[in-house]
C-alpha cells in the first residue's frame, strides 16, 4: 500500500481496502482564486527533484559547465567597466568600477535569467504537463530556485575581486540573504506574469528580452541609485530590484548607506505583483494542458 509520498496519506496505512483519507474533488475552475497552495507544499519533494534536474542538466549540457555561471557576469562586468566606467566615467559611489558593477551584476544576472527561464517554464514542459498532474506552480518555482545555484557560484568570484581591491566586507554581509530572498521573490512575482502570458500568447517570449533590457536601465546596475532625484525615489523604489541591487552593493562592500525607506515601496510592489501574479496564474492553472 502507499508508502511515504504526498502528505495527507495516513502514515502506515497498510491495511488493504480501508477507505483512504486522501480525497480529491475535481470541479470546473471557479472564481478568481482557485488555487491549492497546500498542494504545492505537499509536493515539495518533487520541487527539489525538478530543481536538481534543472541544475544537473544545465551543467551537463555545456562544455564549460559551472564556469558558465561565472563567465557571464564576469564578461559583462569587464565590458561595463571599460565602457561605462573608463570611457563614460559614470559615478560609482567611490568604489572601483569592477567591484561596483560586479556587485550589481550578481543579483541582476540571477533576476534576468530567472525571468527568461520562467517565461518558457510551462511551454517547454508541455509533454509532461499534458501527461501527468502536479501543481503547475512548481515549474516557475523550480526555475527561480535553481538559479540560486548559479548565483552562489558567481558570488565566489566576488572574493578575489574584494581581496585585490582591499575591500573588507562589513557586518552588513549577514543581511545578504535578505536581499537574495527579495530577489527570489521579485523574480518569481514577475516570472509568474511572464509564464502565464506566454501560455496565453505564444509570442510573448520575443518581447521578454526587451522587457529585461528595459528593466536593467530602470535598475541601478550601471549607475548608482543615489543619482536618481530624491523626489522620485519612491517611484523608483517600486522596481524591487532597486532595493536588492543597492542592498547587494552595501552588504558586500559596505559602501554607501544601507537601503532603508526605499525597501518599503519595493516590498509592497513585490507582494502585490506576487499576489496578482498568483491570481493570474490560477486563471490558467486548470486549463494549461488545453492551451499548449
Amino acid at each position: 500500500m502507499p508508502s511515504g509520498g504526498v502528505a495527507g496519506a495516513a502514515p502506515g496505512a497498510s491495511v488493504a481496502p480501508a477507505p483512504s483519507p486522501h480525497v480529491v474533488h475535481i470541479r470546473p475552475t471557479a472564481g478568481w482564486w482557485d488555487f491549492r497552495l497546500g498542494e504545492v507544499w505537499a509536493s515539495r519533494e518533487l520541487l527539489w527533484f525538478l530543481v536538481w534536474k534543472d541544475v544537473k542538466v544545465r551543467y551537463k549540457e555545456t562544455v564549460i559547465g559551472a564556469a558558465w555561471a561565472v563567465l557571464q557576469p564576469v564578461f559583462t562586468m569587464i565590458v561595463f567597466t571599460i565602457f561605462f566606467g573608463r570611457l563614460a566615467k559614470l559615478p560609482s559611489s567611490g568604489l572601483p568600477y569592477p567591484v561596483f558593477y560586479m556587485a550589481a551584476l550578481l543579483p541582476w544576472s540571477y533576476f534576468a535569467s530567472a525571468l527568461s527561464g520562467c517565461t518558457s517554464a510551462i511551454v517547454e514542459n508541455q509533454r509532461i504537463i499534458t501527461k501527468v498532474y502536479f501543481p503547475r506552480l512548481l515549474l516557475p518555482l523550480s526555475v527561480v530556485i535553481a538559479g540560486l545555484v548559479d548565483l552562489a557560484i558567481a558570488l565566489v568570484v566576488m572574493v578575489p575581486l574584494l581581496i585585490y581591491y582591499g575591500i573588507t566586507p562589513t557586518a552588513g554581509l549577514i543581511l545578504l540573504p535578505v536581499f537574495v530572498l527579495m530577489a527570489t521573490l521579485a523574480a518569481l512575482a514577475v516570472g509568474l506574469w511572464l509564464t502565464t502570458l506566454n501560455v496565453m500568447y505564444r509570442d510573448v517570449r520575443y518581447v521578454v528580452p526587451f522587457i529585461i533590457q528595459f528593466l536593467m536601465f530602470a535598475s541601478p546596475v550601471i549607475y548608482s541609485a543615489s543619482s536618481v532625484p530624491a523626489r522620485w525615489q519612491w517611484l523608483y523604489g517600486l522596481n524591487p530590484m532597486v532595493g536588492v541591487i543597492e542592498g547587494f552593493r552595501w552588504a558586500i562592500t559596505g559602501a554607501g548607506r544601507p537601503p532603508g525607506l526605499i525597501m518599503i515601496p519595493s516590498f509592497v510592489a513585490v507582494c502585490a505583483c506576487l499576489i496578482f501574479g498568483l491570481v493570474f496564474f490560477s486563471r490558467i492553472d486548470g486549463s494549461v494542458a488545453d492551451r499548449i
Binding site: G5, I26, R27, I128, Y133, D290
Partner: protein, 436 residues
C-alpha cells in the same frame, strides 16, 4: 461492501474549436483590437464549440478494475485527463477517494542527458512517488527493466527497447490507490507486454482501483470485470466487460460511423466499413488477407479530381502502408453527391498486432483539405509473432525508422465508371537503366 473510489457526476468538457490545435499570438490580438477600434474589422466571431464529453456519470467501487472502450475521439482520453487532473471539466464534478496515479505515457519526464538512475528518481517523483519510496523500489525497478549494467549511462545512449523497459518499469512500480492507465501496454515485444499485463493484474489483485483505457479488447476482457463504452462523449454502455466488449465489437463490425454531424467539409466521410478477402465485414484479419476499406462519402457539389489517401498505422501510430492518389495519380475524374469509394490492400503481410486506419481527402491541387485526416477504423491481425517464426525483441524494430513497404492496392471509384485501378510498386525503366 466496498466504498466508492471514483464518483463522477454529470461530467462535461467543452472545447472551443481551435483552442486545442493552435495558440493565440499577442500580435494577432493587438492587430484585431486595433482593427476593431478603427471600426474596420468584423466583431469578434464566436468560435464553434465542441462537447468532447457530456453528462458522463458513473461510480467505481474500490478495488474494481474498469475498462474504458470506444473509438478514438470518442472522449475516452478526455475523461482520463479529467480524472488525472490534467485538465478541468467544464461542468460536473468528480470525487476521488485515494491517491491517484496516472499512466498516460511511459517515460514522462525522462531526460536524455541524465543517467538511467537519475531518470528513475525524476520520473518516479513526477509520477507522484516520494524519495524514500523510490529508494526502496529502486533495485526492483532496475531488475524489472533488465538494464542493471547500463543504469549509470545517460538514457540517450539506451536502445529504444531498453528505454521503454526502464520507463515502464518506473511506472509499473507506482503504487497509488487509484491507477489510471492509457494504452501504454501497446509498447514493447510480446514477452514484455505479458510482463506488463501481469503487473497490472497484480495491482488490481492488491485491492487497488484501476481504470484502463484500451483498444485491445483481449486485454480489457481479461483484466477488467466491468467496462464502460464511450461514444461521442456519452456513456453508451456500462456493465460486465464481456457483454459490453461484445456489443462494441458488434458495432465496430457493422462499420465505423465516422461522423453523424453533417459538417461543412466539401467531401464528407460518413461511414467506413472493413471487409476481408471473402467480402465479410470484420475487424479481424489473417496476415496476407485482402483488407478492403469501403468509404461512404457525400460530396457537396461537383469536386473535380479529388485526392484520397488511406494509411494503416500500427499500435504505436507509425505508418506501415499507404495508398494515396497523390502518389499514384489515379484520382477519380469527378465526384458528386453521395457515393462509395473502396480501397483494397492486396494481401499485405502485416505482423500480428492492432492497427488503426487513417484517411483524408484533398483537392486536385493536393494541398487544400476536403476532409480532415482522422482515424476511421481499427482492426487486428490474428495470431502471435511466434506463428510467423518471429520472436525476441521486436520493440526495437517497431521503433526504428524503417521505410514503408508499398503493398499493392486497388482503388474503386464509382463516378468514373472505369474498372478498378491496381497500384503496384514497380521499378521504372529509368531506375533499371541507372543501375545498369
Amino acid at each position: 461492501m466496498s466504498a466508492v473510489a471514483i464518483k463522477a457526476v454529470e461530467v462535461g468538457k467543452m472545447y472551443r474549436l481551435g483552442e486545442r490545435e493552435s495558440y493565440t499570438a499577442l500580435r494577432d490580438v493587438m492587430a484585431n483590437t486595433a482593427r476593431r477600434l478603427l471600426g474596420r474589422g468584423t466583431a469578434k466571431t464566436e468560435r464553434p464549440i465542441l462537447w468532447s464529453l457530456r453528462n458522463v456519470s458513473f461510480d467505481v467501487e474500490q478495488g474494481d478494475t474498469v475498462g474504458i472502450i470506444g473509438r478514438n475521439g470518442a472522449g475516452k482520453s478526455t475523461l482520463l485527463k479529467i480524472l488525472a487532473q490534467i485538465t478541468r471539466p467544464t461542468e460536473g464534478s468528480i470525487e476521488l477517494r485515494g491517491k491517484v496515479g496516472s499512466l498516460l505515457e511511459v517515460g514522462t519526464g525522462f531526460h536524455p542527458e541524465l543517467t538511467g538512475r537519475d531518470n528513475v528518481y525524476l520520473c518516479g517523483a513526477i509520477l507522484g512517488m516520494g524519495r524514500t519510496e523510490i529508494q526502496k523500489k529502486f533495485d526492483e525497478i532496475v531488475a524489472f527493466a533488465e538494464v542493471e549494467r547500463f543504469i549509470d549511462t545517460p538514457v540517450k545512449r539506451f536502445s529504444s527497447g531498453m528505454y521503454m523497459r526502464l520507463a515502464f518499469a518506473v511506472a509499473a512500480h507506482l503504487e497509488p490507490e487509484i491507477l489510471l492507465v492509457d494504452e501504454v501496454l501497446a509498447v514493447g515485444d510480446v514477452a514484455f507486454q505479458k510482463k506488463c499485463i501481469g503487473k497490472m493484474g497484480d495491482v488490481s489483485k492488491q485491492g487497488r482501483t484501476v481504470l484502463f483505457v484500451s483498444h485491445n479488447m483481449g486485454a480489457v476482457n481479461s483484466l477488467c470485470r466491468r467496462s464502460i463504452w464511450i461514444h461521442d462523449g456519452k456513456v453508451v454502455a456500462d456493465g460486465k466487460s464481456q457483454s459490453v466488449v461484445a456489443d462494441y465489437m458488434q458495432a465496430m463490425r457493422s462499420g465505423t460511423l465516422v461522423s453523424t454531424a453533417k459538417g461543412n467539409e466539401p467531401l464528407f466521410i460518413e461511414r467506413v466499413v472493413l471487409r476481408n478477402g471473402r467480402g465479410e465485414i470484420t475487424d479481424q484479419f489473417d496476415s496476407g488477407d485482402d483488407i478492403s476499406l469501403e468509404i461512404e462519402y457525400v460530396a457537396n457539389g461537383r469536386i473535380p479530381r479529388p485526392n484520397f489517401w488511406v494509411q494503416i498505422a500500427n499500435s504505436i501510430g507509425q505508418g506501415v502502408c499507404i495508398a494515396s492518389t497523390m502518389f499514384d495519380g489515379h484520382n477519380p475524374e469527378v465526384l458528386e453527391g453521395p457515393g462509395k469509394a473502396t480501397c483494397v490492400f492486396k494481401a499485405p503481410q502485416l505482423t500480428p498486432q492492432a492497427y488503426a486506419i487513417w484517411m483524408g481527402t484533398r483537392a486536385a491541387d493536393g494541398v487544400t483539405l476536403l476532409s480532415k485526416s482522422k482515424e476511421v477504423a481499427y482492426f487486428s491481425i490474428m495470431g502471435t509473432m511466434g506463428d510467423y517464426g518471429l520472436m525476441g525483441e521486436t520493440a526495437d524494430m517497431f521503433l526504428a525508422d524503417f521505410p514503408w513497404p508499398i503493398f499493392p492496392y486497388e482503388w474503386h471509384f464509382p463516378a468514373t465508371g472505369k474498372p478498378p485501378v491496381r497500384v503496384e510498386m514497380r521499378r521504372t525503366g529509368a531506375a533499371r537503366k541507372r543501375d545498369e
